[in-house]
């Protein structure tokens, strides 16, 4: 059984139907990517899973439990953490305070300390900047912080929304290496990207989202060689 099972999800913003029946699944230990153009509904899919914009129809099962209607804080508590699009770090808080807020729902001091050290080991730059205000860091560093903060609840499933957006290419490479490392350490990842090159490199399977529905799903290497995908998303 898949860790995450999304079945025929319809999500609305007011009267606008952003997701028109999205179905996808993520197995334990995988990196699955969701690619698509602007406005295809990639972020909405992640927001639906994390409870920020609950779906109107359809089912989302995590670890066998229906989570389609439960509020975001309980979704986090169950082991799904989102690193939102556009980073959304707390600009006036220090790196350390940002990370500690990631552990807002946890009370096990030792576990929190251990996970903070894990984040610092993954992103040594964050350790160096522990006392710096997040708003003063570069986009790439803020992205590292956003991912690190999403690791602080110690999630089973990590949702990453556009980790490469607006970041210098050299840092994108570094961030993707770390994403692969996080996965090797045992965290399942659902990754949303416009930058399909990197996403298909790091992932095992992929879905292509077009105007609110899944247009294609396949193993990532096959998607990479698919002529339509190449034309639309890989700039070939």
């Amino acid at each position: 059984m898949a860790l995450l099972e999304v079945t025929d999800v319809h999500t609305f913003y007011g009267n606008i139907e952003a997701l028109k029946g999205v179905s996808l699944s993520v197995n334990e230990g995988e990196i699955v990517t969701l690619i698509g153009s602007n406005g295809a509904g990639k972020s909405t899919t992640l927001r639906s899973i994390s409870g920020l914009t609950p779906p109107r129809e359809g089912s989302i099962k995590f670890d066998g439990t229906e989570i389609g209607e439960i509020p975001p804080q309980e979704v986090v508590g169950m082991g799904i953490a989102l690193s939102p699009e556009g980073r959304h770090v707390f600009p006036r808080m220090t790196v350390r305070e940002n990370l500690d807020l990631g552990a807002y729902l946890r009370k096990d001091r030792d576990g929190i300390d251990r996970d903070r050290e894990r984040v610092y080991a993954l992103f040594p730059r964050l350790k160096e900047r522990e006392r710096q205000k997040a708003g003063t860091m570069s986009g790439g560093e803020q992205q590292m912080l956003a991912i690190g903060r999403a690791l602080m609840p110690n999630p089973k499933l990590l949702l990453l929304d556009e980790p490469s957006m607006g970041i210098a290419p050299i840092l994108v490479e570094r961030i993707y290496e770390t994403i692969a490392e996080i996965n090797r350490q045992g965290t399942t990842i659902l990754l949303v990207e416009q930058n399909a090159n990197y996403a298909l490199d790091v992932s095992k399977r992929g879905y292509v989202l077009e105007t609110g529905t899944i247009a294609l799903d396949d193993e990532s290497p096959k998607l990479r060689t698919n002529p339509e995908v190449q034309k639309a998303y890989l700039g070939a």
Binding site: S83, F90, Q132
Partner: protein
Amino acid sequence: MSAAATTLRARVETRTLIVLVIALPVILWMASEIEMNLFMAFVLWALIVVRTVLHDNPVVVRGTVVALVVWAILLPFLQEEGGGFLEDATLALAYTSFALGLNIIVGFAGLLDLGYVAFFALGSLTAGWFMSGFFSGAGGGEGFSLLVGEPASTLPGIHMNFLLVIIIAVVITTIAGMLIGLPTLRLRGDYIAIVTLAFGEIIGRVVINGDEITIGGEKLTNGRQGITPVDKIDLPFLEPFQSLELRPWYFVALAIVVIALFVNYRLRDSRLGRAWIALREDEVAAASMGVPLVKTKLLAYGTGAAFGGVAGAFLASYLNTVNADQFAFSFSIFVLAMVILGGIGSIEGVVLGAIVLSFINNNLIPDVFNDYPSKIGLDFDLTELSFGIFGFLLVIMMVLRPQGLIPERRRKMELVEHIGTGATTGVGADEETPHEARA
């Protein structure tokens, strides 16, 4: 840090020192005008100097807060019992409690509430209901009393002990705060302001027209006539308070402020306080980190409202009336101005802002400067301009010191050191923005 930065730092400190030196004669002159004890005014100035010069030493900062409380306890013994100064000081303390309450909503949680007057109204009304002869039919016309002494216990109406009334006021305003908060939960920024503004107006209108609403044969309020008299505070082991002996009133108001201060400090440093700040900084991020938005917001509205209720109940007894015309939009703005002037989110700043604006409103404008326009041949009183003066002060503050008199730590970073809210949203704002590293 370059040499230029070092000289800049020195210049800023020199400027601050000059301001402090100029402040001494100004403070002493003001003190003599408002009949404040000159020695205490000098001590106050000295405390401000210590705090300003050593502002980065946490022990000094905490120490000056304690010293100021001690100063405030000693103050009334050096003042005339029935003088105008103690009267205004008591009022200023009541306003401080309002401002500290609003600061939780606006400053900590970042929810712009323009209807704070609702909680003043409800707190006052609670005192009007349960500490006066208003419900003349209570107890079969004989009156109902609970833990109060003569003469209140023998009069018709409901007469309850002030401490009980405070508890009831806290319960009522907390619930009201949460109810008013409910429709704003899905809103942001300006929209919250508009909805809360409307609720403030609604409650004000209900109090004015409440004499037409009857529940079980009793009117809800007394309309524009107001409820008067309201019982004096009657505390255990103490003589009932008198109108002209102001020291006990002052101490009750001070006690309310000290409790409000304590709660504010504790909340700010608590888990809930961190959740409020996260909410204020970035709601999406807070939600995706597991901060429960509904609970966190409603707790901010509820706690903030409770302080308004306590101060409102106190003012009803102190002013001896529940006057419906007080519950106007201008009150909400007045308290908000205190918060902004002092420094949004900064506890010490808000206390300072409340005291300064309260004294300007109740003393400097009507008593000290009121006849200045006529002295230079102009035909009006300064009181007619008071809101213009507050507006002008706010504009001046926004130009010279937008972070407030004593800024909150985080905002100071942003406004003084130009640390923006960060390029966090939108594609356009997402280029690599290399900020200079500050260790």
